[in-house]
């Protein structure tokens, strides 16, 4: 795919509501995409709308401009106003107040974003995740900027799950309605495209996350007896289940360690669980800036998550030659991990704890099997090489044809 030379140097806005010190997968994809596009000669600006005036967790390269549409801190007079607004926002499902609550929550973002787009006139604007997509959809402009929605979850999680994003019914309805204002909708997997109604499907393009290949010499042999788990410490990742399985396995594998990397709201609860079970070989490691080294030296990635979009931890483990174990009904993961080829997919029927304990123990005890599964990992993520994915980004932003749409009724 070639993009005409004239598009190099065009201005691109990447929009996300919150980025300051956030270490999530979507934030990482946004920063890595911004960096890669800047290296290709585009003028890239990352636009946020948040009160925290802190830098992003993932570093941006020279050439990428960071713009926060809000002041870094609330002023004195804003605090009482914000308290009143929070009260209104609590009434998000009360008829009559729901629109006011919705406006209070989203109004500033889309109004400021519209002003900023008018001032900077980007050729394309990409919104990451629902709050930013709502703002981009509603931003008023006087010229035809290409609007792209970048989705980072299974669609039912983004559009139907009341515990994610704005919990109001009004927002859940509008979220989907506003997608019709997008010129392109980027989803991570082909099956996610099928979820969208026919009138939107036409705009949907499959754009997976990029996976950086790991050179052969960096893949450690022999690997340490470590089971790795990487992800935000939140209920959706099911770290508790993993710790319970480890409680059963630890006595049989005294020379093995469980290392859980990441941080999140369940940290203290998980630590209590480890302490209560008296586990000395299970550790919460917090964030690490050198997680790549862990993938290269550990023996297994355990990823018992409930659902995923396109799990970066799994792709990076596979690229590093690490076998992955996870549940067959976990979206995203079940597309990347092929049972018996590059990892183990656990059945979702029966007791999950039993299934996880049995399969993990079996893999820990079988070094030749781990090696065979790990060896197949790098090849399985080759289609997601950064240059390939970046070409697809360019086509999405500036090409006339949609990638990944063989016969979607275009």
């Amino acid at each position: 795919m070639t993009v005409p030379a004239r598009v190099q140097g065009r201005r691109i806005l990447l929009i996300i509501q919150k980025l300051a010190e956030r270490s999530g997968g979507a934030e990482r994809v946004l920063v890595e995409t911004a960096n890669a596009l800047a290296r290709r000669g585009y003028q890239v600006e990352i636009v946020t709308c948040e009160y925290r005036g802190r830098p992003p967790f993932y570093p941006v390269v020279p050439g990428v401009i960071l713009s926060n549409l809000r002041k870094p801190e609330r002023s004195r007079w804003q605090r009482p106003v914000d308290r009143a607004r929070r009260l209104v926002e609590r009434a998000h499902d009360v008829p009559g107040l729901d629109r006011l609550a919705w406006l209070s929550r989203h109004g500033a973002f889309w109004r400021r974003l519209g002003t900023h787009i008018e001032a900077t006139r980007p050729a394309a604007a990409v919104a990451f995740m629902p709050p930013a997509i709502t703002a981009l959809a509603l931003a008023r402009t006087t010229y035809p900027v290409r609007r792209v929605a970048s989705m980072h979850n299974a669609p039912e999680q983004d559009f139907l799950n009341p515990s994610r994003w704005d919990p109001s019914r009004l927002d859940r309805r509008r979220r989907l309605e506003l997608m019709s204002r997008m010129d392109r909708i980027a989803v991570l997997l082909p099956e996610y495209r099928d979820w969208y109604p026919p009138h939107l499907r036409r705009a949907v393009a499959v754009l997976p996350n990029a996976v950086t290949p790991v050179p052969l010499h960096l893949r450690a042999k022999p690997r340490d007896k470590v089971v790795l788990s990487v992800g935000r410490l939140a209920s959706v990742k099911r770290h508790g289940l993993l710790i319970d399985a480890w409680t059963r396995l630890a006595p049989s594998f005294p020379d093995w360690e469980l290392k859980i990397f990441g941080d999140g709201p369940l940290r203290s609860e998980l630590q209590s669980r480890i302490d209560a079970a008296g586990l000395t070989t299970a550790h919460l490691m917090g964030h690490s800036g050198e997680i790549a080294e862990q993938y290269q030296s550990a023996a297994i990635l355990a990823h018992p998550a409930e659902f995923e979009g396109f799990p970066l931890a799994v792709t990076e483990a596979l690229a590093s030659g690490l076998p992955v174990i996870g549940f067959a009904d976990c979206s995203g993961l079940n597309r990347l991990v092929r049972d018996g080829e590059n990892g183990v997919l656990l059945p979702d029927q029966g007791d999950r704890l039993d299934n996880l304990t049995t399969a993990l123990g079996s893999l820990m005890a079988d070094a030749p099997r781990r090696e065979a599964l790990g060896a197949a990992g790098p090849a399985s993520v080759e289609p997601y090489a950064p240059e390939v994915i970046l070409d697809q980004w360019e086509e999405l932003l500036f090409g006339d044809d949609l990638p990944g749409l063989p016969d979607a009724g275009r």
Binding site: P62, G63, V64, I65, L69, R121
Partner: protein
């Protein structure tokens, strides 16, 4: 004429429009540089009339005939304006280092030598050359008067550029690597004036740093004229730059935004006054006063205090020029 890629050390980029005599001065100043590297000069003529272009061709041929450096002359089919011409110059970059010069302005012989030495020293001190632009002190020549102005690169460079008193956005002072110029992106084609300022702000906001060699002697000379410049256009350009960078301005106290909006009006007023439009000049000042009452009040109080103390009125600080 196309040169072989990467066969030179430095590209000197010159936009030209209807000023062959000025172009000759600029080319002569390049010839006189003491720096010994291989230079490729790229001149883009912005659709000058045939006669003027023919004279520019003669000057370019004369430069080539000296045999010291190479020169590429390109021409826009029609007058596209300074930003688009400068973008065409950016597209023509082939060498690892880049410097800019405007037809009519000149470099003194030591300019490149001093700037390359400074860049080398920065590299020795562990700085990344691909994030640095080297500027320099310069002579400001206006109405037969010349004074030397230094560039103060200390402190918050974004703020300094916006205020424009101690650090000014003049492209013809710059030397840097081609990669360092990539950071700033391209010139905004909606800015017929002040596109230098916008380009500098982009560079600093995108992680670039401006540095200047020590010393107070000017290394180049800018010949200044306010004549023929549209005050309303300058005002609109300044306002657009402030709008583009509104998110960056939010991190400063509101007094800065007030000062800058006042400055936009005052700058336009200066240009209107220079072009014998006193009525328009007064209107712009009034606009500035009404639009930025906070800053105007501070100015009036400061002026009154100085008067009461018997101190002479503060000389008007040299404002960011709208030469682009």
């Amino acid at each position: 004429m196309q040169m072989k890629a990467m066969s030179h050390d430095l590209d000197v980029l010159i936009p030209h429009y209807r000023d062959p005599a000025g172009l000759r001065s600029s080319l002569d100043s390049i010839t006189q540089q003491t720096w010994g590297g291989r230079i490729r000069v790229v001149v883009v003529d912005d659709g000058s009339p045939e006669e003027s272009f023919a004279e520019a061709e003669v000057e370019c041929e004369h430069f080539r005939a000296l045999g010291r450096h190479d020169l590429v002359l390109l021409r826009n089919d029609r007058n596209l304006g300074r930003p688009r011409t400068r973008n065409r110059l950016i597209d023509a970059i082939q060498s690892p280092y880049v410097a800019w010069l405007d037809a009519g302005d000149i470099w003194y012989p030591e300019k490149l030598t001093r700037q390359f030495e400074h860049l080398a020293n920065l590299c020795l001190n562990g700085r990344d050359p691909n994030r640095i632009w080297v500027t320099c002190a310069y002579d400001w020549s206006q109405a037969d008067k010349t004074r030397t102005l230094t560039q103060d690169t200390r402190g918050d460079q974004l703020r300094s550029l916006l205020i424009g008193s101690n650090l000014r956005a003049y492209l013809w002072t710059l030397l840097g690597t081609a990669e360092a110029f990539r950071i700033a992106g391209r010139f905004d084609e909606r800015l017929p004036r002040l596109q230098d300022l916008d380009y500098f702000i982009n560079f600093v906001r995108a992680g670039g740093q401006i540095s200047s060699p020590r010393g107070r002697e000017g290394l180049c000379c800018y010949f200044k004229s306010h004549l023929g410049r549209n005050a309303a256009e300058i005002h609109a350009c300044y306002k657009l730059i402030l709008a583009k960078n509104a998110p960056a301005l939010k991190r400063y106290p509101p007094s800065l935004a007030s000062e800058l909006h006042y400055k936009a009006a005052r700058l336009a007023s200066q240009f209107a006054k220079s072009n014998d439009r006193p009525y328009a000049a007064t209107l712009f000042l009034l606009r500035g006063a009404l639009g930025s009452p906070r800053h105007t009040a501070r100015m009036v109080v400061g002026l009154a205090r100085r008067r009461l103390k018997g101190a002479p009125a503060k000389p008007a600080s040299l404002q960011q020029d709208a030469q682009s």
